[in-house]
């Protein structure tokens, strides 16, 4: 088997204020997999995500992306390979127009002209937002902004797409449309969420991160059927569901 797209070994991290958020995380994600990263608030999910492209530097352990270790010399290449979509699209969309925002990443990679335009067009088409290219991000609805946020990362053609709580703050219809969009993307996916139904719909494999370690790793359905396991890690299916 080829090198996993994502290879995390013994990753530990403490914030400068001394708060230790990760205590030795091991996780491998292979090409084409869709993995849900489940965990209650404060479990360290976002902290883990920030290690995947070198924003945070591991205190111990290592992260590699398709064989390339995440370290200060190769951040740009790592950031091309790992596309992170943050939780709040207002943090992700900072340019005056949707088009400029989607172009920001590939432009940082050195693309210009027709090649850049093509990237922007295809990323916007992939999320169904082509006709909004010239609008200002703050004139879009929340759901539209989340789509554009995904496009900004798709435009970099990452090897793995990482979504941090993509279904938070969405109404049911927008949430369903987003699920359809994610389903339609042909990428390796790591999706952080505590929306268990969303995870079941989109990911065949799930990992529970709890108190800074991987507490379970297996088929999503099997994990969601284990009520004890979920209960121990402060995860709950919506009322009325029974695994």
């Amino acid at each position: 088997m080829s090198a996993p797209v994502l290879d995390i070994r013994g990753l530990a991290f403490a914030y400068p204020d001394g708060h230790q958020a990760l205590f030795g995380v091991d996780l491998h994600v292979h090409r084409g997999e869709r993995v849900a990263l489940l965990g209650p608030n404060g479990a360290g999910k976002t902290t883990l995500v920030l290690h995947l492209n070198g924003i945070l530097t591991a205190g111990a352990g290592s992260v590699s992306v398709s064989g390339l270790p995440v370290e200060s010399g190769n951040h740009l290449e790592i950031r091309r390979r790992v596309g992170i979509v943050f939780q709040d699209p207002d943090d992700q969309l900072f340019m005056p127009t949707v088009r400029d925002d989607v172009a920001f990443g590939p432009a940082n990679l050195g693309l210009r002209g027709a090649e850049l335009d093509a990237r922007v067009e295809s990323a916007l088409a992939a999320v169904g937002m082509s006709e909004f290219a010239d609008r200002a991000p703050h004139h879009l609805s929340f759901g539209q902004r989340r789509r554009v946020a995904i496009a900004t990362v798709l435009a970099m053609e990452p090897e793995i797409l990482v979504l941090d709580e993509p279904s938070s703050n969405l109404d049911p219809t927008t949430r369903r449309e987003l699920a359809e969009l994610i389903q339609s993307l042909d990428v390796t996916l790591l999706m952080v969420t505590h929306d268990l139904a969303f995870a079941l719909q989109l990911c065949e494999r799930a990992v529970i991160l709890s108190d800074g370690i991987v507490a379970a790793d297996g088929p999503t359905r099997a994990i969601l059927e284990d009520a004890d396991l979920l209960g121990r890690h402060r995860l709950e299916l919506p009322w009325g569901f029974s695994g």
């Binding site: 492209n53 950031r79 207002d90 943090d91 900072f94 340019m95 005056p96 210009r112 200002a136 703050h138």
Partner: protein
């Protein structure tokens, strides 16, 4: 959450002024205003001529008159000053109807009013025909320091976000029975302002993380450089050239 900086000023359109590249317009505006301000105080005819030039440019933008008028409010302080001047200034007196005013004061007031109106009209012609995006590109093109350009761009983008956050905090305060009536309510307002500042600061940090995650290394990429033909430069600098001609005429005569 309406009322965005920039959006408020810009009016979509397809006039000759709209079509000029933003950096050309910006240079044209600065040159024109500097020359207008440089006119000697008693050059009334020349000053009227520059006002006419500004009015023509505004007419060329085809922006509705009421938009232009509503944007002239920034001129109010000058108007007040111009009205006060004839009364407070010294020198020979002159009589207009029932009042006697200072003659140099009256002239200075009029000159100030016309200069301010001319400059503001030209600035409005620029602002209504230039999107905030193009303004940012123009500043970038003119090598204004990257930091300043980014501050401006982020202000345009996040003013609404911060504004609506402030609004939500106000609603939250008032929903819990807070009414800002006396000095005693000031600490509450100060605390809210502090909280707003911290939230904005944290937002800034998160935006920075998101930028770095997409390969940002400290310089905004220029993806779409502005370009102007000599003809466009000619058009953009025409008002400035006319102002220069009047200035030279005044100085020579």
């Amino acid at each position: 959450m309406g009322g965005q900086l920039g959006d408020h000023l810009h009016v979509e359109g397809d006039s000759p002024v709209h079509r000029l590249p933003a950096h050309v317009k910006l240079i044209g505006l600065v040159v024109f205003v500097l020359l207008v301000v440089a006119l000697p105080r008693d050059a009334h005819l020349a000053r009227a001529a520059t006002l006419a030039v500004a009015v023509i440019v505004v007419a060329l933008t085809r922006v509705p008159v009421r938009h232009v008028l509503s944007r002239l409010v920034v001129e109010t302080p000058f108007v007040v000053f111009a009205v006060v001047l004839p009364f407070v200034a010294t020198g020979p007196r002159t009589t207009i109807g029932p009042v006697t005013v200072s003659r140099p004061g009256l002239e200075a007031g009029l000159a100030l009013l016309v200069t301010a109106t001319t400059s503001v009209l030209m600035a409005v012609a620029f602002a209504t025909t230039t999107s905030s995006r193009d303004l940012v590109r123009a500043l970038q093109h003119l090598h204004v320091p990257d930091r300043l350009v980014q501050i401006l761009a982020f202000m345009v983008r996040y003013l609404g976000v911060v504004g609506s956050q402030a609004q939500r905090m106000k609603v939250a305060r008032e929903s819990r029975g807070f009414a800002p009536r006396s000095v005693r309510s000031w600490p509450v307002i100060a605390t809210s302002a502090g909280a707003l500042f911290i939230r904005s600061y944290e937002r800034g940090e998160r935006v920075h993380l998101a930028m770095m995650s997409r390969g940002y290394t400290g310089r905004m990429p220029v993806t779409d450089p502005l370009r102007a033909t000599p003809t466009q430069w000619g058009h953009g600098l025409l008002p400035g050239a006319l102002a220069l001609v009047t200035l030279v005429a005044v100085v020579v005569s």
